[in-house]
Amino acid sequence: MNKIGGEKLLSIWWFLVLGIVGLGIVGGVFIFYSAGVDIREIEANVLSEEIINCLTGQGYVNDALFENDFDIFKECNFNKEIINSREFYFEVEILDNNGKNLTKEIKAGKSSFKADCGVTSGEEEKKIKAEKFLKCIQKEESVIYYKNNEKKIATLYILTASNQRGKKIAGI
């Protein structure tokens, strides 16, 4: 025989090992690049910033907000169909010092998202880590408003959520 172990390795088995390593590389690359870029949190953040920008200006609440026919979609240039039928949600509340809501209910999007946000956000020890779940942003801002020509301070609460992932399309 006169063979040593090293010689035996350099045979067809060597290529089999290379094949297994190659398959590992292919699998790893495929999994890594098909994971996608997650911008749901950024998108929820953009949505909340846009709401703040259109409802307030230099710290003052937009007067239109207190009108009965106030339409947030028109005021903030949001597409009603997209927000209501796709993976978005937002809710706005303006509370005075006594905790009373100063406006009518302002919310849109998938109503189930509010409960889902409660699962993934909130207190650190209570929240559950769920990577495939929606992303939520909660913001709180102090704002100034006028009532009977008197300057008052209120708190603006905003909850926004996004679960939009985008999709690949074939044959366009």
């Binding site: 006169n2 350099l10 088995w13 870029v37 169909e81 997209i82 796709r86 985008g166 044959g171």
Partner: protein, 159 residues
């Protein structure tokens, strides 16, 4: 049956020769030794080249950039105010599209609140923006690496 076995294995000792082929046998003349070594090295090089090419092609491929550009553009639109003109560096996108023989004018489209980026012939990537604007995309004639995004109020006419 014995005849068929005989085609592959001459005797019992040679039974496993295929899987135990030794590329470096001992007691051979130098010229006999060189040929298998060259084949072995070449096969290894070919193998490594194939995998490096695969990793490079996949990581710089259309699908990765389609997704990144679609999401970036959708965020830019959502963050913008009408009327805004955005100059986006689209160099890599143009490069990939050129490789795939796709015209610069048809790479990005935005209808029904959807940004569609298509850098290859077979597929594309769609991402929706929530702002209610009309959006148009044009390749920049002054800087060939830029893509111009024009954001207007709905119904506003093109200039």
């Amino acid at each position: 049956m014995k005849k068929i076995r005989g085609l592959f294995f001459k005797n019992k000792k040679q039974k496993n020769n295929f899987f135990n082929y030794n590329f470096f046998p001992k007691n051979r003349r130098a010229d006999e030794m060189l040929f298998p070594v060259i084949i072995f090295i070449m096969l290894n090089l070919i193998f490594c080249t194939i995998f490096l090419t695969f990793v490079y092609t996949y990581s710089t491929g259309a699908s990765v950039y389609e997704q990144a550009y679609a999401k970036e553009i959708a965020l830019l639109i959502d963050k913008a105010k009408p009327t805004t003109q955005i100059f986006l560096n689209f160099e890599k996108g143009f490069e990939i599209a050129k490789k795939n023989k796709i015209s610069k004018e048809n790479l990005v489209s935005g209808e029904n609140n959807q940004v569609i980026v298509k850098l290859s012939n077979s597929r594309g990537y769609v991402f929706e923006y929530f702002s209610d604007y009309d959006v148009n995309f044009y390749p920049d004639k002054e800087n060939e690496n830029n893509l111009i995004i024009i954001i207007r109020e709905k119904g506003e006419e093109n200039e």
